[in-house]
């Protein structure tokens, strides 16, 4: 009897303590959304109150003023292309590193791990020069290729760990039946790691969607800007129109938050399954 009591006592503690901390940490996001519906005056006079009058027009205004439509499209293009590239190339590479032998295997893998340790600002300047020489400066292609290259290390690293945790029995059996390596990869290995690929697609989507530095340095045209850059710019221009800034923040943040909550179970379960250990 006493054991059960104590357990529920602990659970109550978990619930209240956890709940309080989680609510406090989540509050800024709620505050952001609520403030987006207010007038500037209201934001300062009653920062914690609900909006007296829900001003939906703030969103339309922010959307138009900030030209957010075009930036949304750019962010979508860059993210979709870079994530697809990353996950496809990384799966092939991880498969090779864990299942195949080839000249320079260990050496190439170590080289790849270097990317895991380097912060992107380290190469910002020379990368800028290389993109210029390739004629890619100020193109979405630059963001896609650079974004992919910088996501590969971690993605390959995690996927390779996942491959390693599964015994290659199925692949070996198929090999004996005379299938070639490409068929084995396509028909056996990819379906096997499919859930992990999806998780990594989501994780990479979050990081590439939010990428700031490359986008800031490598693109200049209005029609090539992505959302994070647009947001910085929007904040600079309307830094004093607080309702406008919050509306823009909400518009740019809600979709990714919604996507995340929709797939939340998958992200956390996936990260757990492939947990980096």
């Amino acid at each position: 009897m006493s054991a059960t009591d104590r357990r529920s006592g602990t659970e109550w503690l978990q619930l209240t303590l956890g709940g309080a901390i989680v609510c406090a940490m989540f509050y800024p996001a709620v505050w952001m959304v609520l403030s987006a519906f207010k007038t500037n005056r209201e934001i300062f006079k009653h920062p914690f109150a609900l909006p007296a009058d829900w001003k939906w027009s703030n969103f339309a205004e922010a959307w138009d003023k900030g030209g957010l439509g075009g930036m949304y499209l750019n962010s979508l293009i860059v993210t979709a292309a870079a994530v697809t590239l990353t996950v496809c190339l990384a799966t092939a590479a991880a498969f090779a590193f864990s299942r195949l032998e080839f000249p320079g295997r260990r050496w190439l893998y170590r080289l790849l791990l270097v990317g895991l340790l380097l912060p992107p600002p380290v190469v910002a300047i020379p990368l800028f020069a290389i993109l210029r020489d390739l004629g890619l400066l100020n193109t979405l292609t630059a963001l896609i290729l650079a974004g992919t290259a910088w996501s590969l290390s971690l993605t390959i690293f995690i996927l390779q760990g996942y491959f390693n945790s599964i015994r290659p029995d199925m692949e070996e059996a198929a090999m004996l039946e005379g299938a070639n390596i490409w068929q084995i990869f396509r028909d056996i290995s990819v379906p096997m790691v499919w859930p992990s690929m999806l998780t990594l697609a989501i994780v990479n989507t979050i990081s590439i969607w939010n990428e700031l530095m490359f986008a800031l340095l490598f693109t200049v045209d209005d029609d090539k800007r992505t959302l994070p850059v647009g947001l910085i710019r929007f904040f600079g221009r309307y830094s004093t129109d607080y309702a406008m800034v919050f509306a823009a923040l909400t518009i740019t943040t809600l979709p990714i938050l919604a996507l995340y909550f929709l797939l939340q179970r998958h992200v956390i379960a996936g990260l757990s399954a492939t947990a980096i250990d």
Binding site: L112, V114, A149, W150, I166
Partner: protein, 301 residues
Amino acid sequence: MAGRNTGFQPISSGATNLLFVAPAMILFGLFVLWPLGSSVYYAFTSWSGYTKPEWVGLDNFRRAIFHDPVHIASYLHVTLYILGTLVLEVSFGLVMAVVLNSDRAGFSIMRGMFFSPMVLSMTAAGVLWAFVLDYRLGLLNSVLRGLGLDDWAQPWLSQPATALIAIMFVSGWRFSGFYMVIFFAALRRIPRSIYEAATLDGATPIKQFFSITLPLLRQQMLTCVLLAVTGGFAGFDLFFTMTNGGPFDATQVPATWIIRQGFDNNQLGYATAMTVILAVVVLIVAVVYLRVTERGNHVRY
């Protein structure tokens, strides 16, 4: 783990297998390794970005190491920041993983909410927190003034003494969810029977945490510390959006100082030299760390 323990058994070998890694390695080589290698050349030049690079030998390195106090201080700041993240991100994440480890209704959504700041872009988070921390109108100071604690209201991001600490807290808010997930995954794999046995022996939950949970999570903790350290050196977005190195360079970290010198002050050659230094420092730290922790990490349960 299993794969590593059983050793590497390829299903095929031969040079054609290189085709599977070639696309990834080409991209990686072109946009990660090549710039890294070429930076070594620019690091020995004086180069404004407007004119042609001019060879200056070791001048940039000499300046960076001996005559640039802000550059040296930026390593102090990033070290403090990393120490802060170990407490506010890794340790806090661990505690929250334990607190939120339950199958009861509501805990799954709470874990989701706890992780959600990770999903926001750094720009959005930076702008949001600029409003929270604003001296005159910010949320935090409004609360303090509302409680009658007028003296506690501070210009958080405007004074050297508090700016770095404020950034650490924002960083903790943002990244602790990530560490929580890693620890949570590991907690799930600890058999419940171990705790039940301990409970029967009369161990309190706190004692169980220190005598069972912590030792079993050693491997994850080592991983998390490595990620926090390398991630800390890579930290740019947070500092850029919140203070851009100010006030008075009190939050200047290597990445922000490199960008400031390179693009703001048109000293790309000098900035590249500092880049090379940063790369070397990070690699040394990582290698030393891996060497130290490689021994005896075979914890099983």
